[in-house]
């Protein structure tokens, strides 16, 4: 069987990525390839370097060593919008929502739709609400565009954060613990959304602690431990038991 991993161009390619915070070495020599339409599970214990890796790819801070290539071209991100500009979307673990704004306002935060009124560009509330409702419909989330995020349930908030990634034609979507704080039914919805992204050729990186989720949707699992990549295996070639022992260090590498 030819997996997407073997065939074609990688959408994201990391070479020897390392990151130091003062004396602390958070990441060391990480190589990674993600192909279009591939779902990669990124696993590891707390402090293994998952979040640091995600933040480097998302442009929160630059790596100390190594090279990032996106769509075949080397990229240097200074700010998160640089990463977003090339087609990388992130669902942050804390969701990055402004509680005092409506669902629609949060979905379009930083890229509001506007309409011209003479020399002024005013917000197009109607178009944003309509598009947001459409996105919530796709996610099967009962979320009203005009409701304040402050009044929403965990699942609704998750839907708002995920809806954001669907605004643009993202090539890579990274989700940091998207299923950690939501109901069983909503987990199903998030996983089916990941399937849909995959069908459309979007690469997905799923950072998760939940083994069943990773094994349900991922093509490949990457295990991090102590800032290094310890395993990178097709999902069919491994088992939850092996991944667990890789995470804990019972098994050093695979």
């Amino acid at each position: 069987m030819v997996t997407p991993h073997d065939a074609g161009l990688a959408v994201l390619e990391l070479k020897g990525i390392g990151k130091e915070f003062g004396a602390i070495r958070a990441l060391h020599g990480v190589d990674l390839r993600v192909s279009p339409g591939e779902v990669v599970g990124l696993m590891g214990d707390n402090g293994a370097g998952k979040s640091t890796l995600v933040k480097i790819i998302a442009g929160n801070f630059p790596p100390t060593h190594g090279e990032i290539r996106f769509d075949g071209k080397p990229v240097h991100f200074v700010r998160p919008i640089d990463a977003r500009a090339v087609g990388i979307e992130v669902v942050y673990q804390d969701l990055a929502l402004a509680d005092n704004l409506t669902a629609a306002a949060n979905v379009f935060l930083g890229r509001e739709l506007k309409r011209k009124l003479g020399p002024f560009a005013l917000l197009d509330h109607k178009a944003m609400a309509a598009r947001a409702l459409e996105l919530f419909g796709e996610l099967r989330s009962e979320t009203r565009p005009h409701d304040l995020v402050k009044q929403m349930s965990g699942g609704q908030r998750q839907a708002v954060a995920i809806a954001r990634t669907r605004l643009s034609n993202a090539k890579l979507v990274m989700m940091d613990e998207p299923t950690a704080a939501i109901s069983v039914r909503q987990v199903e919805q998030v996983l089916s959304l990941i399937h849909r992204l995959k069908e459309q050729g979007v690469a997905v990186m799923l950072i998760s602690h939940r083994m069943p989720d990773v094994f349900a949707v991922c093509d490949r699992v990457v295990v991090m431990r102590r800032g290094e990549k310890r395993a990178d295996k097709a999902i069919g070639d491994t088992s939850p038991e092996e991944v667990t022992s890789l995470i804990t260090g019972a098994k050093e590498a695979a």
Binding site: Y92, A96, D99, N100, A121, L122, L123, R140, E142
Partner: protein, 360 residues
């Protein structure tokens, strides 16, 4: 990359808030407005003079004297910041405006030959088009406010200093500069165009005080900016979750600098207007006004934690403060009670909002 809807979204579990439990009616601004209306009714019975045209005009003029600055500081408060330097900026802008006007209207002063010359009979006449002196002096006043706003914004947004400390320092710096340039003496706007200045700042148009008209226009503009532009949306987002704002690509530094500049400009304009009403810019003008301005914003519903506030609230807060002041005078209450009562109202307004959000 939208996927088609399998079926239209239904809301089986998610109810819709009742109209009176959402939006304006559920906001602190709504309650305080209600309290204000009640206060008007009570005052009407308490004093026959309260609802006379003269008194209402007086009230309108008086609250306009802090309300424009309150609009400005509301922008800053919505982002979760604070500006303590507004009182000093009011004074400094007023002083610069009046000194520049006096200076360029005096033949013989450096630069004055552009604006005035002495006629044969010894009178000072305008050398250039009328209005130019006024324009230049007001722009000079607003110019110094702009600089103060930029410095505040730079220290807070770029250097990452705390807004409280930065603007506390700026309060002192700007007040000090005011004393330095004036040598502690007040200055009076004078020269051939001073009369235009007084007309524009303390005149009456269609029975309404001029400052009140500026206030209404600026408040309307602010409402549009806050709720219908990208900038306004970003101001709210910054107050709601600054980290999220940065992650979603909002230019946080720029928006922060802009709100401090807006605030300083509003304070500068306010100072210039007060100067026109007083007829002078004394060096101790508007001392501690920043507290009134912030109090008015908070009473009107701006949340010092950020994310909430608006022009209507700012005005309602100012009107409430002024009506209480006016009411106490009319009711012949010892005027020393005023400050105490204002303090009680600040706490009561915030308390009511807290109780409501706990019940909801």
């Amino acid at each position: 990359m939208a996927t088609p809807l399998e079926s239209p979204l239904t809301f089986t579990n998610v109810g819709k808030a009742k109209w009176w439990r959402s939006g304006f009616f559920a906001s602190q601004t709504g309650y305080v407005l209600l309290a204000l209306v009640a206060l008007f009714v009570v005052m009407n019975f308490a004093s026959p003079y309260f609802l006379t045209q003269g008194n209402l005009q007086n009230v309108a003029k008086n609250f306009s004297f802090i309300a424009i600055a309150t609009l400005g500081v509301t922008f800053v408060i919505i982002t979760g910041g604070i500006d303590l330097s507004v009182g000093s900026v009011m004074c400094f802008s007023a002083m610069i405006t009046s000194m520049v006007m006096t200076s360029i209207s005096t033949p013989g002063m450096p630069g004055a030959e552009w604006f005035v010359h002495l006629a044969d009979d010894g009178k000072t006449v305008i050398a250039n088009m009328p209005g130019l002196i006024l324009l230049v002096s007001v722009l000079a006043g607003l110019g110094v406010a702009l600089v103060v706003g930029l410095v505040n914004g730079f220290c807070i947004a770029v250097l990452g200093l705390s807004p409280f400390v930065t603007t506390l320092g700026m309060l002192s710096i700007v007040r000090g500069l005011g004393y330095v340039v004036s040598n502690g003496r007040g200055s009076f706007p004078s020269g051939p165009e001073a009369s235009y200045f007084y007309t524009l700042t303390s005149g009456v148009v269609f029975g309404l005080p001029a400052p009140f008209i500026y206030l209404v226009v600026l408040a309307a503009a602010m409402a549009v900016v806050l709720h219908h532009t990208g900038f306004g949306r970003h101001v709210f987002a910054l107050g709601g979750n600054e980290k999220a704002a940065a992650l979603t690509g909002i230019p946080v530094v720029r928006v922060k600098i802009e709100v401090y500049v807006i605030c300083a400009l509003a304070a500068g304009l306010q100072g210039i207007i007060i100067c026109g009403w007083l007829g002078s810019a004394p060096a101790n003008m508007a001392t501690s006004y920043e507290l009134n301005v912030i109090a008015a914003a908070v009473i009107g519903g701006a949340n010092l934690a950020g994310g909430v506030g608006g022009p209507l609230g700012a005005i309602v807060g100012c009107v409430l403060l002024e009506v209480i002041r006016n009411g106490l005078v009319l009711a012949q209450v010892n005027s020393y009670w005023q400050q105490t009562l204002v303090g009680v109202i600040i706490i009561a307004a915030v308390l009511v909002d807290r109780l409501r959000s706990r019940m909801a």
